[in-house]
Symmetry: C2
Subunit: 123 residues, 2 copies
């Protein structure tokens, strides 16, 4: 299944930027895009994931799956983010065993949101 990796490109991650200086979010997106999307992953830049106190942030989502948001990311995490996205895409239900998630995903979760198709959602 194709999954989406949203990367917040407006995030300043608490930095004071000079005129025209790229945001940490846009630098993170560039680093991720330069490595390139793994199979089944769409890399999508987005303006603000409203996780500004924990930027930079990225989100993984796909139809019928839990969505995940991770924060406090930087360009140094680009490869790990893509490895985590690839594992999410490859897992039949999007649920990657805890121990096989990249450490930055295990330690820097901001939130997860259930899919709308869960039986509970019909309550």
């Amino acid at each position: 299944m194709a999954v989406t990796l949203h990367v917040c490109i407006t995030c300043r991650a608490g930095e004071t930027l000079g005129d025209g200086e790229p945001t940490p979010g846009s630098r993170l997106h560039k680093a991720i895009a330069e490595i390139g999307a793994p199979e089944g992953v769409n890399i999508v830049p987005i303006e603000c994931l409203s996780a500004c106190n924990n930027g930079c942030s990225v989100a993984l989502s796909a139809p019928g799956r839990w969505s995940y948001v991770y924060g406090r990311m930087s360009e140094a995490n680009a490869r790990d983010i893509l490895a985590g996205a690839a594992a999410y895409a490859a897992a039949p239900d999007g649920i990657v065993p805890w121990r096989t998630r990249p450490e930055v995903f295990r330690k820097q979760s901001l939130a997860r949101i259930p899919p709308l198709s869960l039986p509970e959602a019909a309550e």
Copy 2:
């Protein structure tokens, strides 16, 4: 459109609990459920929204809409959470004008995730 308000019921919000003592998350869910769902809102308890450092947490989502996660909530916020959920349900696109969102939503956003049907998501 019917929207879903997920309430994390496992959250301990940093508290040490005695045997059988209800979690802060379950107390928040009870307070919300007792007030009752506004029109168009389904209240759904969920085990862990992975926002443990910022619990208690709740999430709003609906097909084709941005999802929102809010944290550092308690029973005292139950009415505000429901007011925010009602506004989300009533907004045709789920985007509630900033100034009309409850203060706890304006100040305690953990993250938002774009809908998968955004044009960008097709990239």
